[in-house]
């Protein structure tokens, strides 16, 4: 009945008014196009790119190169006008169609923060957020904008490496859980798992929501912080299209000089003989010099040929013709390798000066009722390792239309093609540091082996006596040169905004993310290694999927005298991505011609495929902001999330948050002071959820078939196997959200009219009900994944600190400086009954990591080295210790039981930096500007496991060794020795024990960026038809100050419970870039 009446009334009204939009206009005030110019009050110069936003809405614009803007607003609206470095002001819309506004410089930055489903002035915000300027995201070229958060946002830890297009460890306020600690990324309102598809030139704003008060609007997915990106919008009534070009060209130097030094060929030979002497002394036997290459006398010598068709260590000449004939008869199996007596610099051989370029062409404009931003972007970046390459092509189109005065339609859309070739490291590159990568291979190859042999083939350890390293130049070249790999996808959303009532905005949006990937991979037979690749192999595969989100919100503003209310309510449903993959591999096609090879022509083909359904979420949320007279602020948020990730018993979670703020400067007693311009004290409490670290199947008990795990040739056949099943998972119906409870107190202060700005936050984040896969006793059957249960707890505490100073030196030089600091203390506080720790990965039998209650995540655990045993008497007098001997490690008897055994291991360091920070300093003088950026990470340790390979003769005896051999233990060096005695033995007293000798201070300070820019004078460029032109040069990663002896102290890892191990990191090295920025 009601509907009938209502529709009757609508029809009536429509008939009266004729047109719906007229009706809308009548009922809710008139929209008019307001335009104007924003300029600097002091100079009168137009302010380009100043922000104009209608208060309480997401409607806004920015000024063009003439400082002009145009926006549809109605009488009674309030325009919030802001510009970096100027005092923001609010201007009420009256009857004037033209508003010329001037801003005061240098008083206060009035930042606008995009917090979840709405936009708020930072001034009115009572939670802990940080914003990053768009320019800062572009300063240092990288394959993923998230890397640029390093040191620029207090409370965010970033550990990354030098591979273009790599993933990184990005952690907002510590490590909340035992895994799955990636923040939630939201791009234009659509949650995404990664931001690697974004072109930094397209980004307008970046906001990091750190505490519950700001992030819990994202409820169940907010516990690890939320990073909100918005992309550029158009400008209405632009008149002409604003065309911009941003270009960047440069090169990265691989820092060959900084690579760890290896023994020369003669040194390696000499020290091999010294090792034989040490072995003989330790065993009480006569010395035998029996290396296949270095001769049988005490003085080691290099042979004339390391290898000549099966013969090793040949002295004298060889029958070249015969060898060539043999090689012709049996290609690829015959090698003739001469020693490289000067020594091969393998690091130099696998690296190169790597080029980079990035171009973005932007189009921005709009008419009366529409606006648009379009861009085309290309980034092509080489890695310093040969064949390593990153490419990204992007196309973005953002538009918005006024359908009526009250109804707006908009969309954002991006297509991305992204290709990363020859990337190494687990988890998309983040795990490079602890993988045995080609960087490590460069250390493992003896310098005496040349890159190529006398027959022009790659040379390697076919030459006897050098153990099993593989020629990394060959591996990188042959096994990558024909490979291809890319992702392609579309991403975007459509939205409708409707001013339902005065101050009541309804918004609905549908976002989607289509993703696909393809790879093909050719590896080629090569028999020159001691452990050769015997087959030509080929694999290829592809995947695709689609994720979507539908969000509906209503925002209501109410001002009742001194009371200001802002209410948000919304509902959201989403799927994180559903799709399939298929891939296959095979061996030895008849021909390796690229036009021939596919899965039809290989032997032993294997095809795998799979499907995934993603996770469904269903959510309701609401937020209330209240302030009294812009002086007292209270905010409350609540979100209820349901997710398919959990069983029916505990599928929903409710996440509340409260915060309050007091603008002290609003009080009368501070009104007259001139020192404190603005001071706001904030405090908040709230809860957020996390479920990233649990498999969606955790709720089910399952069986599975798996060729590697449960097939068996039951008929006794020698080819093929029969399908079998095994229990693959034990389910837990009761698993629920991990809950982080955050307490945050802080203040925002502006001093001396904006000359100084200080933001400080003291915070604590306690995560409870952590999903932990409590290890089941093996008797249950360990092929079944044990269920994750809500049991563990974790604590993170910290201080985030930001100081900004800006001003003028004399009348011409302006500067701004900011110092960002994050202090973090992470601790695992509980795991499970009887469980006080769990380990990490093993590295060649050494297990350095223990995640232990009372310690930070991924802590290093092992024997504490007291020194080297100095003589037989000390050895005999010391507690029992397996393999103890003169010149070997002497360990501390931690438990004092008179013997050294695994019970004597202890905490010997951890990889979580205690302090990270950055300093940005920008200065400008007339048309010149300069900027620098320093990043520091302090108080973390690195487990430098690469030394296992380079600093022990007994680790793959004969393979490449480092210069620490020269200072290995002798009676004279004693505890000043850099490595234990040079010998063959391998036991826990030598290389096989996890101990503090591997642990190094990982602190460093890096000059990440230094740039100089010149903006061409307007008069000059007008003649060129340009509106803006700026040229800049920059150096990146110019200097690194560290005591760490490895290649690069930025040592990450693929998982949070196992990082900080350096087995051969991909370094971040120095680069130079030239930038061009043009406006047409």
């Amino acid at each position: 009945m009601m509907e009938t009446k209502l529709s009757q009334r609508w029809t009536d009204r429509l008939s009266k008014s004729g047109l719906l939009f007229v009706f809308l206009l009548m009922t809710s005030g008139l929209y008019a196009q307001i335009s104007g110019k924003i300029s600097d009050k002091a100079t009168g110069d137009p302010l380009i790119g100043a922000s104009v936003l209608i208060k309480g809405t997401t409607t806004g614009t920015v000024t063009d190169v003439d400082g002009t803007f145009s926006i549809a607003a109605k009488t009674g609206d309030v325009l919030m006008v802001s510009y970096t470095g100027f005092t923001a002001i609010e201007v009420a819309v009256g009857t004037d169609a033209v508003l010329n506004i001037t801003l005061d410089e240098g008083v206060q930055i009035e930042e606008v923060v995009v917090t979840g489903y709405s936009t708020t002035k930072k001034r009115d915000f009572s939670g802990a957020v940080s914003t990053v300027k768009a320019a800062e995201l572009k300063a240092v070229p990288s394959g993923n904008v998230e890397q640029q958060l390093q040191g620029r946002v207090s409370g965010v830890t970033v550990v990354t490496n030098g591979q273009p297009g790599t993933t990184s460890i990005i952690r907002v306020r510590g490590f909340g859980a035992l895994g799955g600690n990636e923040p939630l990324y939201v791009v234009d309102g659509v949650p995404v798992g990664s931001t690697d598809f974004l072109n930094p030139d397209d980004i307008e704003s970046t906001t990091v929501l750190k505490d519950a008060a700001s992030a819990s609007i994202y409820g169940a997915r907010a516990a690890n912080g939320v990073i909100v990106y918005t992309t550029k919008k158009g400008i209405k009534n632009k008149g002409k299209v604003n065309i911009t070009y941003e270009g960047l060209f440069g090169a990265t130097d691989p820092n060959v000089a900084g690579a760890p030094k290896m023994l020369t060929p003669q040194q390696q030979a000499d020290w091999t003989h010294i090792a034989y002497e040490n072995n003989a002394a330790a065993n009480g036997t006569a010395v035998k010099y029996n290396h296949p290459q270095y001769g049988t006398s005490k003085q080691a010598t290099l042979p004339d040929y390391l290898h000549a068709n099966g013969q090793n260590g040949v002295r004298g000449s060889v029958d070249l013709a015969a060898i060539q004939a043999a090689a012709a008869a049996s290609p690829g199996t015959v090698f003739l390798i001469k020693p490289n007596k000067e020594g091969t610099d393998w690091y130099d051989a696998i690296t190169r000066t790597a080029g980079i370029m990035r171009h973005t062409l932007g189009f921005q404009g709009g008419g009366d009722n529409s606006k648009f931003y379009m861009s085309l972007g290309i980034q092509d970046q080489e890695g310093i390792l040969i064949e390593n390459r990153f490419k990204r092509y992007t196309l973005r189109a953002n538009t918005e239309f006024n359908l009526t005065n009250k109804l707006r339609f908009g969309q954002t859309l991006q297509f991305t093609y992204r290709s990363v070739l020859a990337q190494q490291g687990d988890g998309g590159g983040a795990g490079i540091a602890d993988d045995e990568s080609q960087v490590l291979s460069a250390y493992r190859m003896p310098t005496v082996i040349p890159i190529r042999d006398e027959l022009g083939q790659y040379a390697s350890t076919k030459a006897g006596g050098f153990n099993n390293p593989r020629n990394p130049v060959r591996s990188l070249d042959l096994n990558n040169k024909d490979d291809r790999s890319y992702n392609a996808g579309g991403f975007g959303n459509l939205y409708l905004e409707f001013d339902l009532l005065k101050n009541l905005l309804i918004r609905t949006s549908i976002g989607g993310n289509y993703f696909s990937s393809f790879f093909k991979n050719y590896n080629y037979r090569y028999l020159g290694d001691s452990e050769p690749e015997a087959s030509n192999s080929f694999s290829e595969g592809s995947s695709n999927g689609f994720g979507w989100v539908n969000t509906n919100t209503a925002t209501y503003n109410l001002k009742l005298g001194k009371h200001n209310f802002n209410i948000l309510a919304g509902a959201e449903i989403l799927n994180t991505g559903k799709g399939r993959f298929i891939n296959g591999s095979g061996l030895n096609p008849f021909s390796t011609d690229l036009d021939y090879v596919n899965l039809n022509v290989v032997q032993s083909p294997v095809v795998n495929s799979g499907l995934f359904s993603g996770v469904n979420f269903e959510s309701l949320f609401s937020k209330l902001d209240y302030n009294l007279n812009d002086r007292y602020y209270v905010s409350a948020t609540v979100r209820r999330d349901g997710a398919s990730r959990f069983g029916i018993n505990s599928r929903y979670g409710v996440f509340p948050a409260f915060s309050a703020a007091w603008r002290v400067t609003g009080e009368d007693f501070l009104k007259s002071n001139t020192f404190v311009t603005d001071l706001k004290v904030r405090g908040g409490w709230g809860q957020m959820g996390n479920s990233n670290n649990v498999d969606p199947a955790n709720q089910y008990s399952l069986y599975a078939a798996n060729r590697g795990n449960s097939f068996y040739p039951i008929s006794g056949q020698n080819s093929g196997a029969d399908e079998g099943y095994f229990r693959s998972r034990i389910g837990n119906q009761d698993a629920k959200w991990e809950t982080s409870t955050t307490v945050n107190v802080g203040f925002d202060a502006t001093l001396l009219n904006g000359k100084w700005e200080i933001v400080a936050d003291l915070w604590s984040k306690k995560t409870e009900d952590l999903l932990y896969t409590v290890p089941l006793p093996a008797v249950v059957g360990n092929s079944a994944s044990a269920p994750a249960v809500n049991i563990a707890t974790m604590s993170n505490r910290g201080i985030d600190f930001l100081v900004i100073n800006r001003g003028k030196i004399g009348s011409k030089v302006t500067y701004d400086a900011s110092w960002t600091s994050s202090i973090l203390k992470n601790e695992i506080t509980y795991l499970a009954p009887n469980i006080t720790f769990f380990g990490g990965a093993g590295y060649r039998g050494v297990s350095p990591i223990r995640n232990q209650v009372g310690q930070p995540i991924s802590s290093f655990f092992g024997y504490n080295v007291l020194g080297y045993f100095k003589d037989k008497a000390e050895v005999d007098g010391a507690p029992a210790q397996s393999g103890k001997g003169v010149g070997r490690f002497r360990y501390e008897d931690i438990n004092g039981d008179g013997k050294i055994d695994p019970k004597d291991r202890t905490n010997i360091g951890n990889p979580v930096p205690k302090y990270t920070g950055g300093i940005v300093f920008n200065v400008s003088f007339k048309n010149f500007d300069a900027g620098t950026y320093l990043y520091t990470s302090l108080g973390n340790s690195i487990f430098n496991f690469s030394k296992w390979f380079t600093d022990f003769h007994g680790s793959f005896e004969g393979s490449g060794k480092g210069v620490n051999a020269l200072e290995s233990w002798t009676p004279a060096l004693g505890n000043n020795a850099k490595a234990p005695i040079w010998e063959s033995a391998s036991n826990i007293s030598t290389n096989a024990g996890e101990n503090s000798w591997y642990v190094e201070d990982g602190s460093y300070l890096r000059v990440q960026y230094l740039s100089l820019g010149y903006t061409l004078p307007t008069t000059m460029i007008r003649r060129l038809g340009l509106s803006k032109a700026r040229l800049s040069i920059a150096g990146t990663n110019l200097l690194t100050f560290t005591k760490y002896t490895g290649l690069d102290p930025a040592v990450g890892g693929a998982v949070d419970t196992n990082f900080g191990i350096d087995v051969g990191n991909y370094p971040t090295t120095r680069g130079f870039t030239l930038g061009v920025s043009l406006g047409f």
Partner: protein
């Protein structure tokens, strides 16, 4: 009135939005798992049969530690002094502690071995549980399925018994959520092993179209072996008699000795008449876990295309194992243990470059030497003559010998090997857990202990007669014998029980050299301390870096219970073995 209608309108729009959001089906949050099966799908005949295949598949210890290999190359060969780790000191250095009898309870491979055995047992238990739920299995099929599952369970508990002695015994009545983690370890579960094997012996058919299944006689052989380990010699003898008289393989061959000794280990000859119980392996399966992946490291090193595998020189036979093949002029072994003496030890190429001249030992040796141990100058199957040092990663460290049993032939590359992984050494010969030759020698032991020495001599001579077949001896390219092979039978009647015992045990060592039995034999005979001390005394003089200072101490007969399991389960439930 206007306000009222506005609010109506607002309500309507909000209602519409909510409807839009939640218009999806009620079960929007029910997303079924992908690529998996539920219990109900497996509680059918087809499902149970598949689960049984899954239980069989654990015979290869797939995905777990190589320590858990069915051929026990680490715990049987290396601990038993048949081989050493091989390779060089830094490679897989955790095995260094094994070969030196210094293994710690914290070692990850030890834990992984334990986990492999119990994964297998849990799968067998799973089959029994599912079979009880399934309604569509005939009584005959049910007995067979239960028999196979219980055989497998018995086999894995037998392995656990040999390695750890004391362990928690879990059957199908205990599972996650029903007290499984509260079961303490105890050495007293021989009766359970016997019960499983007895059930299998009583209920399994003799033959099957699927040669990889265990049959009645395999179960009988395993049961008899269990009796032997418990020194129940008369029960063992009785059962051995029955098996020797009537036993046949699953594919219907009457038990017998393969005429050509080398063909026991050849993939092309899998499931031969000597194959009582074998681990089946295969290629082209999409995973090298279905091959003999556990032996992938156990090939000579840096062979290129001249030899098999790529990697890595593990499991190198010991000097002691090689010297044991020295025979006297009558072709009989040196039962007095003098084979390591300077006069008797085999001539070897230790510390001699491959480029330097070397002539192999010219003395009399048992022909089985060159089937078991790769050595310089002797044809390495159909590959080249073993070149010595060039094929050894670190000869000073690990000695001059290479493994040779269960190595694939050059002619089989890519037809009986799986080349799809990082090394070529994924081959498809079955590992024969119990072969008829082994069974005859176990029977001989039982005969000795019950006093029928002549029967024992008869069995031993059957074994020796097969090995004495000159057609099976390793030949040079010119067709002549590769070494001075002599092999004689025991022609004199055995009258001393001690002498007979010595001869049977020595024969077992030679016949089953490098097949993973040695350490467990020594322990059940109770002679481990004496034998291994002598072994170390001999090896440590030669391989000083490897064995300098190593010693065997009482208490190391069994391995330590993995510390990880004690930590998870609680020290009040899992008690560490003595000596650790």
């Amino acid at each position: 009135m206007k306000t009222f209608s506005n609010w109506r309108r607002v309500s309507l729009v909000l209602l519409a939005m909510l409807t839009l959001t939640f218009a999806c089906k009620d079960n929007f949050l029910d997303v079924p798992p992908t690529g998996s099966l539920a219990n109900a799908q497996l509680a059918t005949k087809a499902g149970v049969e598949g689960a049984l295949i899954g239980a069989y598949s654990m015979l290869t210890a797939r995905g777990f530690s190589r320590y858990a290999a069915p051929n026990n190359w680490v715990f049987g060969n290396i601990l038993g002094g048949d081989s050493n780790k091989g390779t060089d000191p830094g490679d897989y250095s955790s095995i260094n502690t094994v070969q030196r009898y210094e293994i710690e309870a914290t070692q990850g491979d030890l834990n992984s071995t334990w986990a492999a055995k119990y994964e297998a047992i849990s799968r067998a238990n799973s089959v029994l549980r599912l079979a009880a739920q399934a309604k569509d299995i005939s009584a005959a099929d049910l007995k067979r399925i239960q028999g196979e599952a219980r055989f497998l369970r018995g086999h894995f508990y037998f392995d656990i018994k040999k390695i750890w002695n004391s362990a928690p015994y879990i059957d199908e009545t205990k599972d996650y959520g029903s007290g499984i983690e509260k079961v303490p370890n105890t050495p007293g579960f021989w009766d359970k092993i016997e019960a499983d094997l007895k059930f299998a012996f009583d209920n399994l058919p003799e033959t099957s179209a699927q040669a990889g299944r265990v049959n009645k006689w395999a179960a009988g052989a395993m049961l008899a072996k269990a009796y032997l380990f418990q020194k129940k010699f008369s029960e063992a003898k009785g059962l051995f008699d029955q098996i020797i008289a009537n036993g046949k393989t699953t594919n219907g061959k009457k038990y017998g000795l393969v005429t050509n000794f080398a063909q026991i280990f050849n993939a092309a000859n899998d499931n031969h008449e000597e194959s009582v119980f074998a681990v089946q392996t295969s290629m082209n399966t999409g995973s090298v876990n279905n091959s003999n992946w556990f032996d992938d490291l156990n090939y000579p090193y840096n062979t290129g295309t001249d030899g098999p595998g790529n990697c890595c020189g593990f499991n190198q036979p010991s000097f002691d194992a090689a010297n044991a093949f020295r025979v006297n002029a009558n072709g009989l072994p040196l039962l007095d243990g003098s084979y390591n003496s300077a006069a008797n030890a085999l001539k070897h190429d230790y510390n001699i470059e491959s480029s330097a001249a070397f002539t192999p030992d010219a003395g009399t040796v048992d022909p089985r030497l060159d089937h078991a141990i790769g050595r310089r100058g002797i044809p390495y199957l159909d590959w080249i003559d073993h070149p010595g040092k060039n094929w050894i990663r670190s000869q000073p460290y690990a000695g001059p010998y290479s493994p040779k049993k269960y190595i694939y032939y050059k002619s089989q590359e890519n037809t009986l090997t799986d080349g799809s992984s990082w090394t070529r050494g994924y081959a498809t010969m079955n590992y024969t857990v119990i072969r008829f030759g082994d069974l005859l020698l176990m029977a001989a032991e039982a005969e000795v202990e019950v006093g029928s020495l002549e029967k024992a001599r008869e069995y031993v001579n059957l074994i020796r007669a097969r090995a004495a077949n000159p057609a099976s001896w390793v030949k040079k390219k010119d067709g002549s014998n590769a070494a001075n092979y002599v092999l004689g039978l025991y022609t004199t009647p055995w009258t001393s029980k001690d002498d007979a015992r010595t001869a049977v045990r020595f024969e077992r060592r030679l016949e089953l050299s490098q097949e993973g039995h040695r350490f467990f034999d020594l322990v059940r005979w109770g002679i481990q301390a004496d034998v291994l001390t002598k072994y170390l005394a001999n090896e440590s003089v030669l391989l000083t870096t490897k064995f300098g200072g190593a010693k065997f101490t009482a208490g190391k007969e069994y391995l330590p219970i993995p510390q990880t399991q004690i930590d998870i389960t609680g020290a009040d439930i899992l008690k560490q073995n003595p000596g650790y």
